[in-house]
């Protein structure tokens, strides 16, 4: 099992219910292929940076899940057949550092989905993480190249 993230852009011409239905169908594709959805993040209707199939807007939806690597080709094939999707982006989270980032992203998305009271907890945690690296900045300025191993070691503290 490997961690993946899929961003899908659904056509804006559909009605709200149709969009929800197609998002459900997309999640169904992942689960039916043996994937476990960690969390989902709705970015909502956004303006696209450039028109895709003459659409200026799109409904963005992000799905975090873990699945066997061999199933990704099948999922992408099904996505390509789906005419309601304008675009999809699959990101692999493979290395240790990426997996830590993946877990943080999942937590962030879960907090966003939960009550706004929990978002304040996230805000109080964030400054603490920033204070720690700030004390060591002079070193980083002098020798950024040599500093990189330390950056890797402190992976959980960052961000």
């Amino acid at each position: 099992m490997r961690n993946y993230e899929n961003l899908v852009i659904v056509k804006p011409t559909l009605t709200a219910e149709e969009i929800q239905a197609s998002v459900k169908a997309i999640e169904e594709i992942i689960t039916s292929n043996g994937g476990e959805i960690a969390t989902t993040d709705t970015m909502g209707m956004r303006k696209l940076a450039y028109p895709i199939e003459k659409n200026e807007r799109g409904y963005f939806h992000v799905i975090y899940y873990s699945i066997a690597p061999s199933a990704i080709t099948e999922i992408e094939r099904r996505f390509r057949l789906n005419e309601e999707l304008l675009r999809f982006v699959t990101i692999k989270y493979d290395t240790n550092r990426e997996i830590i980032a993946f877990n943080q992203l999942v937590q962030k998305a879960q907090k966003k989905a939960a009550a706004p009271a929990k978002e304040e907890v996230a805000k109080t945690e964030a400054p603490k993480a920033e204070e720690a690296p700030a004390t060591e900045t002079p070193k980083a300025e002098e020798a950024p190249a040599t500093e990189t191993p330390a950056v890797e070691a402190e992976a959980p503290a960052a961000e």
């Binding site: 940076a49 675009r87 990101i91 550092r97 920033e130 190249a145 500093e147 990189t148 950056v151 402190e154």
Partner: protein, 87 residues
């Protein structure tokens, strides 16, 4: 040359902030390494280290594929204020 002076003090801002992973969906964070025409800024101007420049370039390319950041800006679209959509 004026642009050059803006970036004169060269050190990697990502090393300073101890950035370990960049999220392509967080488009506001990519602004620093994008030019007005949404080109990836070169390392000689931003002072990024090689490691973080590699990271930012893959992240920007992902964001382009996801239609969060444009590939090109033509003369028509450049008139509107740059970076208005990403913040």
């Amino acid at each position: 040359m004026a642009e050059r002076r803006k970036y004169k003090k060269r050190y990697c801002k990502y090393c300073e902030a101890k950035v370990d992973f960049m999220d392509y969906k967080d488009v506001g964070a990519l602004r620093f390494s994008l030019s007005e025409r949404y080109k990836i800024m070169p390392r000689r101007l931003t002072g990024n280290c090689k490691r973080h420049q590699d990271m930012i370039s893959t992240v920007i390319k992902r964001a382009r594929a996801a239609a969060l950041v444009p590939y090109t800006v033509t003369r028509k679209t450049v008139v509107t204020a740059p970076f208005e959509n990403l913040k």
